[in-house]
Symmetry: C2
């Protein structure tokens, strides 16, 4: 590592610089902040307590929101018989190259191999055919929390792995309109998750055909933007039409007394979101967590605790009053130096640090340091209970606004090849361009810049009349970017 001025600001010397080597920095933070560990099998990871806790907060939030939409949790088998997976041709074509296949059970070779689920559409449909018979049985709104296995060649913690944790929702509806509206409702919940919990803004919209889920009629997406200007698909919801129900024989007697196939949606977010949190908010001192999902929201570091019992007493009092507010607080009374503790909790991304020493105590105050912008302020000890919750809310909002500013400043309208090239080759994020709707652009842009069409945003406000590459008449707005 170079010893330039910027590096000297780094409190933690053993992680790479985020701006100089994002890939190494990312790996360093994942491991050194204690989020994960590599398992002995290639591509598999251990979700350590501080990493899994982030996922638990996401689960709690989504479970509540899903429940409000009438969704209930279920659990499907881990293994899928090969013949079941083969029932929908587009679907199996999409997943076959990534399947882990069980060929032996107990001491016997299986007559039919089974696949460790890469996704569960086939299992849900096989089940739905047993429980849906009449319009009275609709809608069905099921979700499951589980892991899926996909045999990826190149893996990175949380972002892409041989196994990841996710939720997958599967619903059936009487009409296309209802199904599409439901898929969009869930997309809005995902977007709210970003805003309310992760402090991450997304671009919401529809995928072009080439980027749809295997078997979907339409895929809706939330796309995040990483610090290297690359997009990250952070969640998708699919309107799958009636194709799966037709293949699996899911039928219902409608209000009109006619037999019909129900309209199917599926949707999911995964632990990939942890990757987005780390990358978007982290800095050269390590992880930076939004208060809403931080396992520790506030750390109290007493100064001269060993020589001044009054300091310890005051620190404990702060701890107690925060606990009473259900704030996740840690009081570190260990015999490490304050400097070591500062660096440690910065690495772990704790949103707010409270220092209190003899001098502070004499003035009935403590020092607050916000992790995300390093800003410091004093707070009267009498204000702890009333003002710390607001402080945490402000940090959450500050982090969101910072990320939103970054996203907005990295969406650039392009009108021709040169402008497109400039955006896609200099890590400037999304190139917003007009698109004619055919795939000619895609081939060129993939070849020249290794970029893909990420999303057609819901706010389709045309800013030009011709496709920026082909010159054809264009009425669609599409965002291109390189992507994870």
């Amino acid at each position: 590592m170079k010893g330039n001025t910027k590096m000297n600001d780094k409190k933690v010397k053993n992680i790479a610089s985020k701006s100089e080597n994002l890939t190494q920095w990312y790996t360093d933070v994942c491991t050194k902040a204690g989020l994960m560990d590599y398992a002995s099998a290639k591509g598999f990871i251990v979700y350590r307590p501080d990493g899994y806790a982030l996922w638990e907060e996401i689960m709690h939030y989504l479970d509540k929101r899903f429940h409000e939409l009438g969704v209930r949790n279920v659990y499907m088998p881990t293994l899928i018989p090969m013949s079941l997976l083969n029932k929908e041709k587009e679907h199996i074509k999409g997943f076959a190259p990534e399947c882990a296949v069980v060929t032996q059970g107990g001491d016997k070779t299986l007559t039919e191999p089974m696949v460790v689920r890469p996704t569960s559409e086939t299992l849900f449909c096989d089940y739905f055919k047993d429980i849906v018979h009449s319009y009275n049985d609709l809608p069905v709104k099921d979700n499951q929390w589980c892991s899926v296995v996909r045999w990826e060649k190149t893996t990175r913690p949380f972002l892409r792995g041989a196994e990841f944790l996710w939720q997958e929702g599967h619903t059936l509806h009487e009409t296309e309109a209802e199904a599409r509206e439901f898929a969009l409702s869930i997309l809005r919940v995902y977007n709210d998750l970003g805003r309310d919990m992760l402090a991450i803004p997304f671009v919401m919209g529809k995928k072009p055909d080439s980027e749809k889920f295997a078997g979907a009629v339409d895929t809706y997406t939330i796309e995040g933007l990483m610090p290297d200007g690359q997009a990250l698909q952070c969640g998708t919801t699919h309107y799958l039409g009636t194709g799966f129900p037709e293949h699996f024989g899911i039928k219902f007697l409608g209000k009109d007394n006619k037999i019909a196939y129900p309209h199917y949606t599926s949707w999911g977010v995964s632990t990939r979101l942890l990757g987005a949190i780390i990358m978007i908010h982290g800095d050269d001192n390590g992880l930076v967590l939004p208060p809403k999902i931080a396992p520790t929201q506030v750390v109290i570091v007493p100064i001269r605790a060993d020589s001044d019992p009054a300091v310890v007493e005051a620190a404990k009092k702060i701890e107690d009053s925060l606990k009473k507010l259900n704030i996740r607080v840690t009081l570190d009374l260990s015999n490490k130096t304050p400097g070591w503790k500062f660096a440690q909790y910065e690495m772990k991304g704790v949103p707010l640090r409270i220092e209190i020493g003899p001098k502070d105590l004499a003035q009935n105050q403590c020092v607050l340091t916000r992790r995300f912008d390093s800003s410091k302020s004093f707070m009267s000890l009498d204000k702890i209970a009333s003002d710390i919750p607001t402080e945490l809310d402000n940090i959450q909002e500050g982090m969101y606004q910072k990320a939103l500013k970054y996203l907005n400043s990295h969406i650039t309208e392009v009108h021709n090849y040169d402008e497109l090239k400039d955006v896609l080759t200099t890590n400037k994020g999304f190139a917003k361009m007009m698109w004619s709707g055919d795939s000619e652009d895609e081939v060129t842009i993939k070849k020249d810049f290794n970029a893909t069409p990420r999303v057609m945003p819901f706010d389709q406000i045309a800013f030009d009349y011709k496709d920026c590459l082909t010159g054809k008449k264009a009425d669609k707005v599409i965002y291109y970017a390189r992507a994870y």
Copy 2:
């Protein structure tokens, strides 16, 4: 089905009689109460919303209790490389016959096969070796919620399956005493789960050597008793000594500055508990759920709702006041008959039914019917908010006491072969006998009665001085039973 008097009492005609055909009755209830569905792969099931909801309540309870003991959740890979599973010889010997083996990943044959986890001791130990170095790193208290796959030949919903859901906790401690005490603390939590949530009493104690977990020094257990007099192992905690740490190279520098191996515990309960709930509490009309874990705690059935809007209004008022108390309540305003609704919610095991019709309303009251003992009473509408919570608590306690009475009346002290035979061949539950400590009894009892030693209860109060079979000097109390 025979049309005897007893059968005529059955409101639900399409399930078997519990007393006449427990096996068929059990299957009927599992499917018709909507708890599960059979997946297309043999031995695998779908956990439907009302079944999974029971597991969710168990998860919430245990997560809170585990957290109080300092346990945090993690997640380990689904797949275990064969070489890792082979590291502890006793362990692999126990699990090898039940393994589902992945031999192909993506389009390649794997150079090393991987096993779908049947349990995760080897994964945890492989991880622990990376994170434990000093006594400062101890204790480690991790838990994970996941599913495991075991290739069982004979399967029954929840009780024994190719896959089940569970939690598996894994902890490391400085000393044997601390590790054992921790394993016992968790056993007490499991016992509390039975008492507080499931209304199921257990016999707590230690397993004899022959019934220990593969690789354990000691296994502690909670054993339940089913209505056919057979025991069901409902949860176990293991003190595993330092064997696994030695095989995996987990060492720490102790306070005495010496390198030592930490002491290991693992522990788990599974969705098998759902089987216990169904069997212990259910009756000829279907499922009977303890209020604490019932997805619907109260159902309101209005009488003559179609012709009397005041009834609907009163029913809605009851619903509102119960919702405000966070009681899980369903108001059924569908156009089915009250009789159909009664049978339906009885089948689903809803603990308390509230009926209200024009006559009740005129007297400002409603009718309460308790599911577990069919008892009826009137309640003033003014008392709903104040008295329904107590009513639910009373049902919970009543169900526990009923189950406890059954358990206690099915533990019989035996002093010789004939008495033992009488208990074990007439479905009388546990035979409590004195045991010399060697395995001679086991062979005989297994051969003659297909029964096994279930548990040495913690309250070891000798009631005889000689082994009831061999006549050898005996100082141990042991419970024998046939078992699931």
